[in-house]
């Protein structure tokens, strides 16, 4: 009886661990698909689109996850095929320096103006 119980526990734990890894893959797949732009749709991610292009990309991402590729490796593969535009969240590289650094520069510039104004106001008082 004891042995039977152990077998049942072992069987269930193996079953659930498979379920867990499948769930994990599904979460990763959704995350990746939401970050890929559907290149033939207007303002839709591959996750949201039912186009043929999107369904092919979904299959590819599925296969790459099954092959054990990591999120960044899948993005790299897609970037090689379609360029940076295919990913919603672009990487920092020579083509995207302005995109990433301009808001920071504007923030610093605005901050400097506010700081200067506050200082001059305080001096007047």
């Amino acid at each position: 009886m004891k042995i039977l119980k152990i077998f049942i526990i072992l069987f269930l734990s193996i079953g659930f661990s498979h379920l867990k890894s499948d769930e994990k893959n599904d979460v990763l797949k959704s995350k990746i698909l939401k970050n890929i732009r559907c290149l033939i749709c207007q303002g839709q991610s591959v996750y949201d689109s039912e186009s043929e292009f999107a369904s092919s990309i979904k299959l590819i991402v599925d296969r790459k996850i099954e092959e054990g590729l990591k999120e960044e490796q899948i993005y790299k593969f897609l970037r090689e095929k379609y360029g940076d535009w295919v990913i919603y969240n672009p990487q920092l590289n020579k083509n995207t320096y302005v995109l990433w650094l301009l808001p920071l520069l504007l923030f610093l510039f605005g901050g400097a103006i506010i700081y200067k104004k506050t200082i001059s106001k305080n001096n007047k008082i």
Partner: protein, 173 residues
């Protein structure tokens, strides 16, 4: 002085915005991936259109010649307009045409080939569209030129026309 500098900053910012938006107006709103560097052809295995046997990319591109990979489907209307031009290109001895049948019904595809002719020296099937993704395509029709070093050197999105055929002829000369 202060007013002048503020005016100058405002005008500069507005001019900058105007230039950006004006440039944007002239740009096409459809995205076309650019080929900056010559890319290697993908390594793949695909089903033969006629025999259903599996062929690998090495076997398909084994000859020391230029190749044209054309992605097509029987349901694709622009594919019909470019087909006579592909037939014309297939007469050229210095190039081989590889047809990639994209997400198609095999009977319809066979009817298409019987009706319009077969310009392809090798026809392979891409039922799931994943092979087209390996090539970096996102629709039909698309045409890729592959040089003797097995690198993708040119890509044409949409149906080819007479000007493109002339360009292809110059490349493969």
């Amino acid at each position: 002085m202060k007013n002048k500098s503020s005016l100058f900053i405002i005008i500069t910012v507005l001019s900058f915005c105007f230039v950006i938006f004006y440039k944007g107006l002239n740009n096409s709103n459809t995205y076309a991936p650019k080929i900056k560097d010559k890319k290697n052809i993908p390594i793949f295995e695909a089903k033969d259109f006629n025999s259903s046997a599996y062929l690998n990319s090495e076997k398909i591109f084994e000859e020391d010649t230029f190749y044209i990979v054309n992605i097509w489907a029987s349901w694709c209307v622009p594919c019909r307009t470019e087909h006579p031009l592909l037939m014309e290109l297939s007469k050229n001895q210095s190039v081989k045409l590889i047809g990639l049948n994209y997400r198609d019904n095999s009977n319809n595809a066979k009817k298409f080939i019987n009706e319009f002719g077969n310009p392809y020296s090798q026809l392979i099937v891409d039922n799931e569209g994943t092979l087209s993704v390996e090539f970096g395509a996102y629709g039909v029709p698309e045409t890729f030129i592959i040089d003797k070093n097995k690198k993708i050197i040119r890509k044409f999105i949409g149906p080819i026309n007479k000007e493109i055929v002339e360009e292809i002829k110059l490349i493969i000369k």
